[in-house]
């Protein structure tokens, strides 16, 4: 994972629309049982596309505390 950010999923808010997984440039995300799951966290480049596009605010980046 590049940078000092990590993905957080608010699973209860996810409606499984698949927008985040489709627009992730590194195929980090997948939809399983109508919810997003992080399948390849090490591939995440912290671009923020998922946070920008999630209509339900269910996935976002946070700074990793050092």
């Amino acid at each position: 994972m590049i940078g000092r950010k990590r993905l957080v999923v608010e699973t209860a808010w996810c409606k499984g629309c698949g927008i985040c997984a489709a627009f992730c440039p590194k195929q980090v995300l997948e939809i399983q049982h109508e919810k997003v799951s992080i399948k390849a966290p090490e591939a995440c480049i912290s671009c923020g596309q998922c946070e920008l596009r999630c209509p339900d605010y269910a996935i976002y980046l946070v700074n990793i505390e050092e």
């Binding site: 957080v8 608010e10 209860a12 808010w13 409606k15 499984g16 629309c17 698949g18 927008i19 489709a22 627009f23 946070e51 920008l52 596009r53 999630c54 209509p55 339900d56 605010y57 269910a58 976002y60 980046l61 946070v62």
Partner: protein
């Protein structure tokens, strides 16, 4: 625990919102929140959250007033602009932002839209335009494209659609723009500029409705509808590099017109001042 933006500017006890999976309205509401956050954080302007008022009408879009944690009012169908006009008159310093839908602002509230635009009253109207009445079950709206299907147009819509941004500009709005769900950053910037604009500003934001409009018209799921927006709705910088042939079937996303017509509450204040002097 949601992200800082959501925690700070939305009523998180009301989330997740009621909108269908993949509905574009959530992204547009986020764009509005980000635009307001940028203005509050910008040292050039001395805004705090109480300088913003969110007004909405009725429809899917208008649920947004309940989720955004500002001074907000959820009004009656089509009358959001009427309520917002009263708020703006009572306190012209406020940034009054109307969140409405294609049906709410161009059908039921069509007259309020054109007359507030004609007066150039300093409101910011963000239309969540999904081409259909979602909440009531997928009836065609004034922006449903000609030939497209809806529950009330099973053989195709005979009507021709309104272009809300051009309609408002034609009626006298001094700022008219278009946005969409896919180009979220561009749309956020357009909304930010619309809020800063002194006169009446309209931002017609093309939403996506996978549940009704998408399904009725075989547009695919939310991802497919966003990919369509990516290919066919073109931000300003790219639009002006394209030839006439390349633009066929595509639409410009950006600020369509902006001018400095006198703002209504300022003109009204001048009349009050003039009358006081005569006494």
């Amino acid at each position: 625990m949601p992200s800082d933006l959501i925690h700070q500017y939305m009523r998180i006890d009301h989330l997740p919102q009621i909108w269908c999976p993949g509905c574009g309205n959530g992204t547009i509401m986020r764009d509005v929140a980000v635009a307001i956050e940028q203005l509050i954080d910008d040292p050039e302007y001395d805004f705090d959250r109480d300088d913003f008022v969110i007004v909405s009408g009725i429809g899917c879009s208008s649920r947004a007033a309940g989720y955004l944690d500002f001074n907000s009012i959820h009004t009656t169908h089509g009358r959001a602009i009427a309520f917002a006009s009263g708020i703006k008159f009572a306190n012209p310093k406020l940034n009054v932002i109307v969140l409405t839908g294609d049906g709410d602002c161009s059908a039921i509230g069509g007259n309020h839209l054109i007359h507030a635009a004609r007066r150039n009253l300093g409101l910011t109207v963000v239309a969540f335009n999904n081409d259909i009445y979602g909440m009531t079950g997928g009836q065609y709206s004034p922006t449903t494209p000609n030939g497209d299907k809806a529950t009330t147009a099973p053989y195709g819509n005979v009507d021709r659609p309104f272009d809300i941004a051009l309609l408002a500009a034609g009626a006298g709005a001094s700022f008219a723009a278009r946005g969409d769900v896919f180009h979220a950053r561009e749309t956020t910037e357009i909304i930010r500029q619309a809020i800063l604009h002194k006169g009446f500003s309209i931002v017609d934001v093309y939403s996506i409705c996978p549940t009704y409009y998408g399904r009725k018209n075989k547009k695919g799921d939310a991802v497919e509808m966003l990919k369509w927006q990516k290919e066919n709705l073109i931000p300003t910088n790219r639009w002006y590099t394209m030839s006439e042939e390349e633009r066929v079937g595509k639409k410009l996303i950006g600020i369509l017109s902006r001018n400095d017509y006198p703002e209504y509450t300022e003109e009204y204040a001048k009349i009050i001042e003039q009358c006081r002097k005569k006494k």
